[in-house]
């Protein structure tokens, strides 16, 4: 069997799994097209994230464990782009916040300038410390009252600065830009680090980003969440109330509820697929070009690549920014799909390590691999719970209805989800340690 055939088959298997989810309620499938499409949609988003991570790790060997942070920034971009401005918030605290941010930036810039320009010594250190302290105090003095003013405006329902009120689709590229900007800043400072050190640094930065999102209510409403974000697709309820659609659904043999929910999900699926295909094409073209070759050279041996005239620092920064931007886009898409920004939900296990599992299981260094991994792992993440129920039922089929162990197992089915997830992960990695579609 040729590799291409084998790999196409793998994709076919995942496609069949998702189709079966809609077609049959045999075993752990639910037989609901809605459920199938929900999995597909998040699968598309996951695939995009995996693509971004693969760009960084598979192409360039950058161990970025801060995916969560960029995803969250993408989410923030949706709020800042698409929600209407909060009435009164800008006039209450906008200028103050802006001034404070400028002040903060100035402080950092002058500290950096001092580091660069002045000769090393006690004087320099003292000056830098002084700049930082004074800057910090001024910053807080400007910042604190302004955000208080903003947060005081209808705190239960608003309390944040709001957004620009632009169409929500624009927020996807904006999410990419925001993430790219953050990645640029991070890359400038932290990309000198290697392997696990870079990993923990990016992890830390992601935690910092989340801490900001969770606690800066003026910006993101913090843990109070921003709900009811605008959508790029119609609302189901509106479709259900639109006779034209109702008739159309009826002509397809569907009741309005089913028709409208599927219609909306298909709409998302189409949009997400477009993004995925575009990004996949771009990544694939890049990988197969001299650019990709250069990146692999850098990944293999930085010292030698540098001696061969490649500007490793610049290239690392480039790919770090690109990969993060892709994660930002995916994050924005996800927030749009959820219809809300929930800073409290970002945690590394789900938003960083799960994505890594996708990349590694799919096959790092191979774009198709990571896309496959994205779909497959997401499917499993959702489906291992019913699977483990099946598994338990099967394992305990010999036991009595009231058997203690059996009851205990069934009671703990949700925890068995993680257990099963682990098991499957180990099995996949066992049978193809280089991933399902390995790098050539």
């Amino acid at each position: 069997m040729t590799d291409t055939l084998k790999h196409s088959l793998l994709f076919a298997v995942v496609a069949v799994l998702i189709l079966l989810e809609g077609l049959t309620n045999w075993s752990f499938f639910s037989g609901s097209w809605n459920s199938s499409l929900v999995i597909l949609n998040m699968g598309l988003i996951s695939a995009i994230m995996a693509l971004g991570v693969n760009l960084q790790w598979g192409f360039a060997g950058l161990f970025n464990v801060g995916i969560m942070g960029f995803t969250a920034l993408g989410g923030l971009a949706v709020v800042l782009t698409s929600t209407p401005p909060s009435p009164g918030a800008w006039s209450a605290g906008g200028p103050g916040v802006l001034m404070a941010l400028v002040m903060g930036a100035l402080t950092v810039i002058s500290a950096v300038a001092a580091t660069r320009l002045l000769p090393k010594g006690g004087l320099r250190t003292a000056l830098i410390v002084a700049i930082l302290i004074v800057g910090f105090v001024i910053y807080r003095a400007l910042f604190d009252p302004s955000i208080e003013a903003i947060e005081d405006i209808n705190p239960a329902l608003a309390g944040n600065i709001g957004g620009l009120g632009w169409p929500v689709l624009l927020s996807w590229p904006m999410g990419g830009l925001l993430a790219a900007g953050a990645a640029w800043l991070i890359g400038k400072t932290a990309l000198g680090l290697r392997s696990d050190y870079l990993a923990i640094a990016t992890l830390g930065i992601a935690e910092i980003i989340i801490a900001i999102l969770k606690n800066e209510d003026w910006l993101s409403r913090g843990v109070k969440n921003v709900v009811g974000l605008p959508r790029p697709v119609p609302y189901e309820v509106d479709l259900q109330n639109d006779p034209a659609y109702v008739d159309w659904f009826a002509s397809l043999g569907m009741d309005p509820v089913l028709g409208s929910t599927l219609y909306v999900k298909l709409g998302y699926a189409a949009l997400f697929s477009l993004v995925l295909i575009a990004l996949l094409w771009m990544a694939q073209m890049a990988l197969k070009s001299p650019w990709g070759r250069m990146m692999r050279a850098i990944r293999d041996n930085e010292v030698a690549a540098q001696a061969m005239g490649k500007n490793v620092t610049k290239r690392h920064l480039q790919i770090f920014v690109l990969g993060s931007a892709i994660c930002g886009i995916a994050g924005a898409m996800m927030t749009t799909l959820d219809g809300q920004l929930t800073p409290g939900t970002y945690n590394p296990l789900r938003f960083t390590f799960l994505i890594w599992v996708m990349v590694i299981v799919g096959g790092s260094g191979n774009n198709f691999g990571s896309v496959l991994g994205g779909f497959l792992i997401w499917f499993l993440w959702i489906k291992v719970e019913p699977m483990s129920l099946e598994l338990i039922t099967l394992l305990t089929s010999g036991m009595d209805e009231t058997n203690m162990l059996r009851e205990h197992l069934l009671e703990n089915a949700a925890h068995m989800r993680l257990f099963t997830m682990g098991l499957i992960l180990l099995l996949v990695l066992r049978f193809s340690p280089r991933g399902l579609i390995p790098e050539k």
């Binding site: 309620n25 639910s30 037989g31 609901s32 809605n34 459920s35 929900v38 999995i39 998040m42 705190p155 239960a156 329902l157 969770k214 606690n215 409403r221 913090g222 843990v223 109070k224 969440n225 921003v226 709900v227 009811g228 609302y235 189901e236 309820v237 509820v257 409208s260 929910t261 909306v264 996800m334 799909l337 959820d338 219809g339 809300q340 929930t342 409290g344 939900t345 970002y346 945690n347 789900r350 997401w378 993440w381 959702i382 719970e385 019913p386 009671e411 089915a413 949700a414 925890h415 989800r417 993680l418």
Partner: protein
């Protein structure tokens, strides 16, 4: 009428994730209501109620929505859930509203959810922050407390409650020396306690969960001698707290939603008989959530969410005969006979506005290592 003999209720909460230690009791609570109804044989001519559990991970919107769809696919007639506000919002917007499914959350308190166009499908049995803040402030004032340090669990519940307490307490002239967040699920709270202690205050009000960060904060404060009296809002009231902390907690006080109908005690007792802790946070709210759905079904004489959704407010509020935990059979009978009921449940349910819960509070004092009810507010 000719009804399906099986009513399915989804229980969609975070069996894994940050509040996994609470959800077992929550699920048990709602299933207790379902069993009670099934056993009574009175719901819609003897329908049986079965529970379908599904996980939200508490903080995983994707998983929660997918599992929501799964419940819909399995044909549930109503959903008890979600738990954490984030996933609750996601399920509500992406599953419940599009599919016209009634959802009663036992624990989501975010005011943001109230503002959502929910088409009368979303309800919650957890009390509103604003009211609880007032109750707490009143109580503190009566006790002669002049200043408090305040810590909250960093989620929408904690944040909202802390805001409410601060506003209300300052409105009655009290001083809040510090408002510090703490994260659940982290074991070490030295930093928080250090800052709280430094800020000082007559007592420390802990707007958290009794088996999460809240416990850690109290333990740490007692150990280091930072505070010895604590103000305990609803999330901190439960048998496990005095048990875990020991006699040092004596003298601390707080409040929890509940009427003088003894609902909470009855519920706790029954829960104990079934082998779970009925005083665990949100267990009683979960019971009430499931019960409300079932009673509304009876009132609408239908399991269709579009029909019984509108009845939830009716069965929850006065007028009508007061219904306590364990009296669901009686309630079903009354409703079938065309009479009004006022479901009080384990938490003294009272729904106001767009599906939010309000109502009376029980003042609790920790005495000799147990929570005792002092009076009702």
């Amino acid at each position: 009428g000719s009804h399906a003999k099986e009513v399915k209720l989804g229980v969609l909460i975070g069996f894994t994730g940050p509040i996994e230690s609470l959800t077992a009791a929550m699920a048990a609570g709602s299933e207790m209501a379902m069993d009670e109804v099934t056993k009574s044989g009175l719901l819609l001519d003897g329908a049986t109620v079965t529970s379908v559990r599904a996980d939200t991970g508490c903080i995983d919107n994707g998983l929660a929505v997918a599992n929501g769809e799964k419940l819909i696919a399995e044909g549930v007639n109503g959903i008890v859930g979600g738990d954490c506000s984030g996933v609750t919002g996601a399920i509500l917007q992406n599953v419940a509203i599009p599919n016209g499914m009634v959802m009663v959350s036992p624990s989501a308190t975010s005011p943001g959810l109230s503002s959502m166009e929910d088409n009368g499908l979303f309800f919650r049995t957890s009390p509103s922050d604003a009211r609880e803040g007032q109750v707490m402030a009143e109580m503190l004032q009566e006790k002669g407390v002049e200043s408090i340090a305040l810590t909250y669990t960093n989620n929408d519940y904690g944040k909202g409650l802390a805001d409410a307490i601060k506003t209300s307490f300052e409105a009655v002239g009290g001083e809040v020396t510090i408002v510090a967040a703490h994260e659940d699920g982290k074991g070490d709270y030295s930093a928080e306690v250090a800052s709280l202690a430094s800020a000082g205050g007559d007592i420390l009000v802990v707007a958290g969960y009794l088996d999460q960060g809240g416990l850690g904060i109290i333990q740490s404060s007692l150990d280091s001698g930072a505070f010895d009296t604590f103000g305990l809002p609803g999330g901190m009231i439960g048998d496990s707290l005095p048990k875990n902390v020991g006699s040092d907690l004596d003298g601390s006080y707080g409040q929890i939603a509940g009427s003088d109908s003894q609902g909470a005690e009855i519920f706790a007792e029954q829960a104990k008989a079934l082998g779970f802790d009925g005083t665990s946070a949100y267990a009683s709210e979960s019971y009430d959530a499931a019960a409300l759905i079932l009673l509304a079904m009876q009132a609408a004489n239908s399991t269709d969410p579009a029909e019984y959704g509108a009845k939830i407010m009716d069965v929850a509020n006065a007028p009508g005969e007061v219904i306590n935990p364990g009296e669901l059979g009686k309630a079903l009978e009354l409703i079938a006979a065309g009479k009004d009921v006022d479901f009080q449940g384990a938490t003294g349910v009272e729904l106001i506005g767009p599906g939010e819960s309000a109502g009376s509070y029980r003042e609790i004092l920790v005495k000799d290592g147990v929570n005792t009810t002092v009076k009702f507010r």
